[in-house]
Amino acid sequence: MSPIVEGFGALLDPTILLCIGAGALLGMLVGAFPGVTATMAVALASSFTLALDPLPGLAVLLTIYVSSNFGDRVPAILVNTPGTPASIATTFDGYAMARKGQAGLALTASAFASAWGTVVGLVLLMVAAIPLSRLALNFGPAEMFALVVFGLTMMIGVSGGKIVKGLMAGALGLLLGAVGRDPITGTPRFTFGIPELSDGVPFIAAIIGLFGIAEVLNQILTHRRGHKVEPIKEFGRWFPNKRDWRTMLKPLAVGSGVGGVVGIVPATGGDIAGILGWDQARRVSKRPDRFGKGSLEGITAADTSSNATLGGSVTTTLALGLPGDSVMAVMIGSMVVWGIQPGPSLFTNQPDLVYSIAGIMLIATVVALLASIMRMRGVAKLLELPQHFLWAVILVFCMVGTYAVSNNVFDVGVMLVLGLVGLFLKRFGIPPGPVVLGLILGSLAEGNLRRALEIGGPANILTSPIAVGLLLVSLLALVGPPVRTALRNRRAKKALETPAP
């Protein structure tokens, strides 16, 4: 008990609370800015937090990490542009809700779901860090490959009922993911001799183009003078009512579960978890047809799931000393310089520090939640700007944000080109979700498959119970729904044939 008291007690220092406040402000800001990621903000902040003591320094960095995962939801919901990759799945239903005049509800529900997800992840960290991190070690290339295959089955889910077109979009994404140096031999593929492409298509530029820029270009193309295309002046009610809460209950549970697991698996983060949580909630929902068209369940599941990964990433980082995601990789660098060596011995030597870290993140969650709810009305005012201001702001802010990722004009070009590709997809009714899914999972799928084969041939995959289990689940996910539909049709036919009395 005493490490808990000591760990949490250490946070009562006003300096630390001040640091949390500063971190929350910075995190929200960079999160909301498309292009600027939490990794970049933490990396730049760490250059001056190194001068601080460990706890205040950690307070700044961890709070940026937590609160940027609140801030990034705002542009996802209001202008269809994910602030960071973690909010890709938020756009699926969030933007649709906003267009239906429910922007207020979408913003608040998203904030509550994000807060709930973060807390679940942190509870996992506090009660079961060591055993969970051991589980993570079982995820080698074979298991990762099987997990990614399961992820690829989601392409059907995010196709929104247009399966062939959705799968084509998925193949496009996978091909884009194949651009760059081969993961095993280093052979350049589809790079056309451009050095920037040898690391692959810049991911953040691609998602901003496909979602945000494509949406703006479409509005520019279709807007008529004197005819209001954008109905987002209506925010609807802000707080979820009793019925909304009941609707949110199941996706909150599903999202927590999915996010918790994905967070612990190394090298997977909020972007994948958000989509996975969204798709799983769709599978168990009573109204799966509404997903992607402004479903409260959808946005709740996506945000719960993507934020539940935070605790998992911190768990892997602290309990194994191996970074759970790119933000934690940067943070390990700072911790080591402060003389904190993450790893199993941290839990025996400095258990109070683990609780302090969890405590900082809990306070940060509360601060971010409060800030999200209070400040929403101000942010939402942005949309009351006339469309010519809004277009200019989104276009230029996305360009500058994308440029800032690696200070390269090439990324901005990729963003604009994919914006045009996204416009094409939109005009011809092809869902953009599978493209992004393919882009995220493509290199993971190929890299891990080939790594697994290098290590032990096909037997490496077939002898792993986790991998085989995941592959079977993927098969079920593929075959299940059509079989169920067929059965239902046959039953319906029978019911028709039996004359009604």
Binding site: T39, M40, V42, A43, L44, S46, S47, L50, L137, N138, F139, G140, P141, A142, R181, D182, P183, I184, T185, G186, P188, P195, E196, L197, S198, D199, P202, P266, A267, L320, G321, L322, P323, S326, A329, V330, G333, V336, V337, G339, Q341, P342, G343, P344, S345, S406, N407, N408, F410, S443, G447, R451, E454, I455, G456
Partner: protein, 323 residues
């Protein structure tokens, strides 16, 4: 809302006009004896937050004190570092743009990128990251010799993870095989951390990675580092012998130094070398680098230039088949 908006706007307009007025930075044809009379930019060819970025930023903060001007770190990542290195090579040789040169400076040219160490004036080397080879804690291999013998017995059966295709650690694996007449199977991962994780989890037989990546897991008892590929034992792994001590004469690893576009005026180069030497010797710099698990060094320009030339030749032979 309205009045504040306009007040803000008025202030902002003033600010922009003011800054735009003094924005004309180009076309400096000043006497180089007054160097440095404005901010210096330090290009880092990787994203902010990595070990290279930390080393560069720490050094930059110390060099500012001698130069008396701000050093602004610019991260220009992409193309395995080639984007930033090519950018640096194309900047004017006036001392106002310098850059962090990693070991990839001598490797990328042999891997199809347009990077040549001759394009840079070398100022000094400040960090060294010797390669290590480590096995899972429960591995049957107790010494480097055990591992090499196993690889000799069944060539290509010993899997060794590394941080990526074409990385220095993959090259180190090949070099170890060449030097011992054995054959390992390199398994490239997507970054150093997943490669070490794979070894901790027992998915591969061994991992070759930088000392700062394996030493923490070694002291936690998750990995056993078998050898350090350096000329002397490391402070962070006092119980581990060097490869040479175990009869395998291989020294290889990552390193980082500072360079500038080739053709710097002599007096500018000298000022930079002085600032570099003072910074690399400073306690602030050496403490942060040793704490992060790497080895701070202070190699002067001439010696560093010779070293880079040797390394360039060496990797040409090692990576030659990839051209």
């Amino acid at each position: 809302m309205r009045p504040t908006f306009f007040k803000l706007a008025a202030v902002a307009t003033g600010a922009v006009l003011l800054t735009a007025g003094c924005a004309d930075r180009g076309g400096v044809t000043e006497d180089s004896s007054e160097y440095p009379s404005e901010d210096v930019t330090l290009v880092v060819p990787y994203d902010a937050g990595g070990a290279s970025d930390l080393a560069a930023r720490t050094l930059a903060a110390e060099m500012e004190e001698t130069l008396g001007q701000s050093i602004i770190v610019e991260n220009r990542s992409g193309g395995a570092g080639s984007v930033g290195l090519e950018y640096l090579a194309g900047r004017p040789a006036d001392g106002y743009t310098i850059g962090y040169l990693p070991v990839e400076t001598v490797m990328l040219g042999h891997q199809g990128y347009d990077v040549d160490p001759a394009d840079y004036d070398l100022i000094g080397q400040m960090v060294s990251v010797p390669a290590t080879v480590a096995v899972p804690a429960d591995s049957p291999y107790e010494t480097l010799d055990d591992l090499v013998e196993a690889a000799k017995e069944d060539p290509g059966s010993i899997t060794v993870s590394n941080s990526g295709a074409g990385s220095i650690w993959e090259a180190a694996t090949t070099e170890l095989g060449n030097a011992t007449g054995s054959e390992f199977k390199p398994v490239p991962f997507d970054g150093g951390a997943p490669a070490v994780t794979a070894a901790v989890g027992g998915q591969v037989d061994a991992v070759v990675a930088g000392i700062s990546e394996t030493a923490p897991s070694h002291s936690e008892g998750q990995l056993r580092v078998l050898a350090v590929f350096d000329s002397e034992p490391s402070e962070s792994l006092p119980d581990v012998q060097t490869a040479a001590e175990q009869g395998v004469d291989v020294t290889i690893g990552g390193w980082g130094g500072i360079g500038a576009p080739a053709g710097l005026p002599e007096d500018v180069l000298q000022k930079l070398e002085e600032a570099f030497a003072a910074a690399a010797d400073s306690e602030e710099f050496t403490t942060i680098i040793s704490d992060s698990g790497n080895i701070p060094v202070n190699v002067p320009a001439a010696e560093y230039a010779q070293f880079v030339e040797d390394e360039h030749k060496r990797f040409g032979e090692l990576l030659g088949n990839q051209d």
